[in-house]
């Protein structure tokens, strides 16, 4: 960049500092505080006992926390595939010339993203309900009544079942992002592929996918970031249950602080959540490769 276009040092700082201070004070300071509290045996009050790294080492051996981490990984895998994958397919369909009512579909499918987790959780809890839920009602209507069950009480399914509303809610969000990338792709490339006899699936995988892979990578990153810290949907729908089958890290840390009053340990746990989320994100981005180059500034 041309040096003349650069603001003076002073105005550079004037521009950057307000945001930096706000962000540091509200977001970063609590993280530092949590890290600090992590070194104490503290049940929430004036008495704090310094215990060194005990909380952090206990975290590594805490089977409930480790399970909640695995649950997060599973949930993240489902959500990335579900949110970004389905959004990709739907965006391709919506992009095709044969589809009518395009703007209606766009408006409708983004709508769930604007609803609160409480509303989403309530709606889906009703869908899964044993007596009044749509799913069981339909199963009974089509003669598959023996499959009807109190869905969220199924410990091997509960995590998948809470993932579905999460996926459903954000498909529209990612679909819109992918659509915008698709509209930037040269139409003729896609049309030529069609004439050559490539079917839609091949076309999508071999031509479209590579062209918008950067956008997809962004979607994947956003989706992972959102799912690693997921809390509200699960809190509303199952509270982590039955047992710990749908427990996730953020919920576990919250419960440790507020239900078992181990605020020192809960703080250490929140740092653990942050670090593990960071590892997963960085790891994924590393796998997705292409990213690193993009990040550099011209």
């Amino acid at each position: 960049m041309n040096q003349a276009m650069r603001p003076s040092r002073k105005s550079f700082a004037m521009y950057m500092l307000p945001g930096f201070f706000l962000y540091t004070f509200i977001v970063f300071v609590p993280i530092v505080l949590a890290f600090y509290y992590g070194f104490f045996d503290w049940s929430g009050g004036t008495k704090m006992t310094f215990i060194g790294f005990d909380n952090f080492t206990a975290l590594l051996k805490d089977s409930v926390f480790i399970q909640s981490f695995y649950n997060n990984i599973y949930l993240t895998a489902l959500c990335v595939i579900g949110q970004v994958g389905i959004a990709f397919v739907l965006a391709l369909m919506l992009h095709s010339k044969r589809v009518k009512l395009k703007s209606l579909h766009r408006t409708m499918s983004y709508f769930p993203s604007v609803l609160s987790a409480v509303v989403i959780g309530f709606i889906w809890t009703m869908l899964y309900d044993y007596n009044y839920g749509l799913i069981n009602i339909i199963l009974k209507q089509i003669g598959w009544g023996q499959w009807a069950q109190p869905w969220l009480n199924n410990e091997s399914l509960s995590l998948t079942l809470v993932a579905i509303p999460l996926i459903w809610q954000y498909i529209g969000y990612y679909m819109i992002i992918i659509l915008s990338a698709l509209s930037a792709v040269d139409q003729q490339v896609l049309e030529m592929a069609e004439i050559d006899g490539a079917n839609s699936w091949k076309k999508a995988v071999h031509i479209t996918l590579p062209l918008i892979k950067n956008t997809l990578a962004v979607c994947v990153t956003l989706s992972i970031a959102g799912t690693m810290k997921v809390f509200d949907h699960i809190y509303v729908m199952t509270g982590g249950g039955p047992g710990t089958s749908s427990n996730v890290m953020a919920l576990n840390a919250y419960k440790t602080s507020f239900l078992t009053y181990k605020m020192g340990y809960g703080s250490a746990m929140s740092i653990g959540v942050l670090i593990l989320s960071l590892v997963v994100i960085v790891g994924t981005r590393w796998i997705m490769g292409s990213f690193t180059k993009e990040r550099e500034v011209r």
Partner: protein
């Protein structure tokens, strides 16, 4: 052969239309269901949760509007949303632009520092945040909630603005510079208008986040007069109450202003989203 081909063509036209239609309906139906169910009586709802109401009644709404301070809650929520959005947009635009255009020592570290905010599990950090807010005397003030809403909205704003600005050719600013435009003027009268679509996107995403936010609003504020809609409506859902239609009415009231806004501006919102979305 020809018939199979024709059928294939037909399928390839029908299937996507059908799938999209089903998906779109699934997205909007819950809100519709919420609405007409809230007009039912409790026993009618239990008798058949999906059917339309026989004799719709707005009693639930009347009760909420007359018995609660819903208007005050809405005012508080609106104020929090508007002001925090303003801060997010201004600061997000500036920081996003600077990080995107200028190379300086620690630029990447700073970028990642801001992105870290997207990973913070706020529910797990409520204790330190509460400590910080009370010790600095910042809880229970009219601006209390605006601060976290703005700060936690910054990362996504910076992320989106940064990648958007990178798609703008640098020649735009160079031309302005040659014309003798000062840096400040270039920033606000040339770059800002170009960034309008992405700022619109950020605004939309964040507006709904802030409008629906619950945890900060519960923990950081204790004052009745500063209560927000999401916290307020929980007062209608007592521990021992199973009146679904009533709960649904309160939920609908909570999302109603946002819904109106969304559908009134849906075209612009989606256009903004598409135009402003991340370009990779």
């Amino acid at each position: 052969m020809a018939r199979a081909y024709a059928r294939g063509r037909f399928m390839s036209g029908l299937a996507p239309n059908l799938i999209l239609l089903v998906f779109s309906i699934s997205c909007i139906f819950p809100a519709v269901w919420l609405f007409y169910s809230s007009l039912k009586g409790k026993s009618e709802f239990y008798a058949n949760p999906i059917s339309l109401p026989h004799s719709p009644s707005v009693d639930q709404y009347v009760a909420i509007f007359t018995k609660s301070k819903i208007l005050l809650w809405m005012w508080n929520t609106t104020r929090n949303s508007v002001l925090s959005l303003l801060i997010i947009l201004v600061l997000g635009f500036i920081i996003g632009y600077f990080l995107s255009r200028f190379r300086f020592k620690g630029r990447n570290a700073l970028y990642n520092y801001y992105l870290l905010g997207m990973l913070v599990p706020i529910h797990a950090l409520m204790v330190p945040m509460y400590v910080q807010f009370t010790q600095t005397g910042m809880s229970d003030k009219w601006f209390t909630l605006i601060l976290p809403y703005a700060a936690f909205g910054l990362p996504i704003a910076i992320f989106l603005v940064d990648s958007y600005v990178r798609s703008i050719p640098i020649e735009v600013e160079e031309a302005a510079c040659i014309d003798g435009c000062s840096f400040h003027r270039t920033l606000f009268s040339i770059v800002l208008p170009i960034c309008r679509p992405i700022l619109f996107t950020v605004g939309i995403i964040q507006f709904f986040v802030v409008w629906n936010e619950f945890t900060f609003a519960l923990i950081l504020n204790s004052k009745d007069s500063l209560m927000t809609v999401p916290v307020g409506i929980t007062l209608f859902k007592g521990q021992f109450v199973t009146d679904y239609p009533k709960m649904m009415a309160s939920m609908l009231i909570a999302i109603f202003p946002a819904m109106i806004l969304y559908f009134a501006f849906s075209k612009q919102i989606i256009k903004g989203m598409v135009a402003g979305s991340v370009k990779g």
